[in-house]
């Protein structure tokens, strides 16, 4: 028995928090309807029988190619910095996403 996937308001809030999206509660219903529509489609696809179908993923015969550990300089960084929404000297400037009390530099995962 395949468990049906469904997104409720609690789960939606969790996803919104993780993706740092500020969605007004008035739009929750519309978003939930649309997301659950996609999930229903996924549920229907789970009813398909793949018993004798080989997974594309494991059908790769070739091993991962590897390169020699040799550094190379790429000289077009300014072109990328110039295309950034906001360039600040040598940095990309972004809105501060999480406000912490600490003065510590944040560390990614």
């Amino acid at each position: 028995m395949i468990k049906k996937m469904i997104m409720d308001e609690t789960r939606l809030k969790e996803v919104l928090e993780l993706s740092k999206i500020g969605l007004p509660e008035t739009e929750f219903k519309e978003v939930l309807d649309r997301v659950n529509g996609v999930l229903r489609m996924c549920d229907e696809m789970q009813e398909l029988n793949f018993a004798n179908t080989r997974s594309f993923e494991w059908n790769i015969k070739k091993a991962c190619p590897r390169r020699v550990d040799s550094p190379k300089k790429w000289d077009k960084r300014d072109a990328f910095l110039n295309q950034a929404p906001v360039r600040d000297g040598d940095f990309f400037r972004v809105p501060r996403i999480i406000a912490l009390d600490e003065d510590n530099e944040l560390i990614g995962d």
């Binding site: 993780l18 993923e57 550094p71 600040d88 940095f91 990309f92 501060r96 990614g108 995962d109």
Partner: protein, 485 residues
């Protein structure tokens, strides 16, 4: 009530490669101008494809073998999704279900007791970029913007995940030190916590009344061994207090604040499903065949714990001495070269642990930059062993070698130690002179009032000072005894 502390550690080691994990950008990013070690791959330009660094795989396998892991063939990379500015792709390429090394263990010694910490696995992953938060007036707090530097983005990391076998801050530190030492011995990583080439996340919980595991809290931002100790001690106290008060702990990620010495809630702990892992289809399975593993295994040199045990057995030194000497490979090699010159192992161990280490600390240098070669120090220590010169004289000679940049022979000459020890008739003349100057003390000894021997030792000290340590203290005492009794 007494609750059992249960700790698991995740250690991120930056692998010592020349280029990043999936692109050819340089890994030499410390002090580099921001966003100079970047390219379309590590900036996640659409259409760019990752290409795996062979050396990173080799170093991960090497580390895995040294940690007694089972090296896995056909392992895969996954995409771990989170939306944050330090990650231009909005996902990190990491290993999830199929890590390159599984199982394994690390043996530690804490307060003389041996303990085995089992490992869950070791996997390869790329590092994120660095975010800098700064306001226009230079302060860090209250900033409206963040600045992103992708020089670190894509650096190769090896994450070593332990099982929750650790039960105290002392064990956690011993575990981190053991892995750092191993990484340095194998030259797979600098293992510098200060520069971030070794980072640790601490998972800590207190056992429930029935012995089951309690709610786990992850602590991030512990950037030194001292921070690990303080953060663990703080968290144990915080969790105990909360449980004593009947509060319920929540599973969360907390950030260690070194300045105030507290952990603060950072975010609710995500589970694997929150990261929406799925296979990285741009990278095929990593092939690690038995011949490849065998070749790397054969390249492994003596492990630090093997060296530590061999030193105890071969040189008859204590565990503490051996631990200190084998802490760094270069120091262990220096010690063995000293001994090869004929110096006694015990004296060589003492000299390196005291004199040499003190000079290294003072000059803030590593042993490889120490001016005095192991061969010369060995010859100097051999002279002490042979009682050609005293310990004090040898220290003068070492100082002369360092201060005046002299060779051993020149320093011996400079310190007047080349002609050998003051002995026999020459020594008797000096002793006679000292007795003459200290006639009252000599009389006390002659009259048998120096019951504890303090007076004769005083005279012995004067003679040693007069001879600048070049007399044999036993010979001095013998002559004094003959002359005063």
């Amino acid at each position: 009530m007494k609750r059992q502390v249960v700790i698991g550690l995740e250690i991120h080691l930056q692998l010592k490669t020349m280029s990043k994990l999936f692109c050819s950008c340089s890994t030499d990013y410390i002090g580099a101008i921001p966003n100079t070690n970047v390219c379309p791959i590590c900036l996640a330009v659409p259409g760019s494809l990752p290409l795996l660094n062979d050396r990173a795989v080799e170093l991960a396998v090497k580390l895995g073998l040294a940690l007694h892991c089972d090296i896995q063939d056909n392992t895969r990379f996954h995409r771990k999704h989170y939306f944050y500015a330090d990650l231009p792709k909005a996902y990190q390429i990491t290993q999830f279900e199929y890590p390159i090394a599984a199982g394994g263990y690390v043996d530690i010694i804490v307060e003389g007791k041996h303990k085995r910490v089992h490992l869950d696995h070791l996997h390869l992953e790329e590092d994120a970029g660095k975010l800098v938060h700064q306001t226009s007036d230079g302060r860090l707090s209250g900033a409206a913007h963040s600045f992103v530097d992708y020089n670190r983005g894509g650096m190769p990391l090896s994450e070593i995940v332990s099982q929750p076998d650790i039960n105290s801050s002392a064990e956690a530190i011993a575990y981190v030190e053991q892995i750092r030492q191993l990484a340095r011995y194998l030259k797979v990583s600098d293992g510098e916590m200060e520069s971030g080439s070794l980072r640790a996340d601490v998972n800590i919980s207190l056992s429930n009344n029935d012995g089951s595991l309690g709610t786990r809290v992850e602590i991030k931002n512990v950037n030194s061994l001292k921070s690990i100790e303080r953060a663990i001690e703080y968290e144990i106290a915080r969790q105990n207090k909360a449980l004593d008060n009947g509060e319920k702990l929540i599973q969360e990620t907390r950030l260690w604040d070194d300045a105030t010495g507290v952990t603060r809630s950072m975010r609710g702990k995500e589970s694997a499903s929150d990261y929406r892992y799925y296979l990285e289809m741009d990278l095929a399975p990593i092939e690690v065949k038995p011949e490849y593993i065998k070749k790397i295994y054969q390249s492994l040199t003596e492990m630090p714990w093997e060296k530590r045990d061999r030193f105890i057995e071969q040189y008859k030194i204590s565990l503490e001495e051996s631990q200190q000497l084998t802490e760094q490979l270069e120091i262990a090699n220096y010690f063995e070269e000293c001994v090869k010159e004929g110096a006694s192992p015990g004296k060589s161990a003492n000299w390196i642990r005291s004199e040499v280490q003190s000079i290294l600390r003072e000059q803030k240098i590593d042993i490889i930059n120490f001016q005095v070669s192991a061969s010369e120090l060995g010859k100097l220590i051999k002279k002490i062993d042979n009682r050609d010169i005293s310990n004090t004289q040898a220290k003068d000679v070492l100082s002369a070698m360092l201060d005046k940049n002299l060779t051993l022979d020149n320093a011996l000459e400079e310190c007047g130690a080349i002609t050998g020890r003051i002995t026999g008739e020459a020594l008797e003349i000096i002793i006679k002179k000292i007795i003459g100057c200290e006639s009252e003390t000599a009389e006390i000894i002659r009259s048998g009032q120096d019951i504890k021997g303090a007076k004769i030792k005083f005279l012995q000290g004067l003679v040693m000072r007069e001879t600048r340590g070049s007399a044999d203290p036993i010979e001095v005492l013998n002559i004094l005894n003959v002359k005063l009794n």
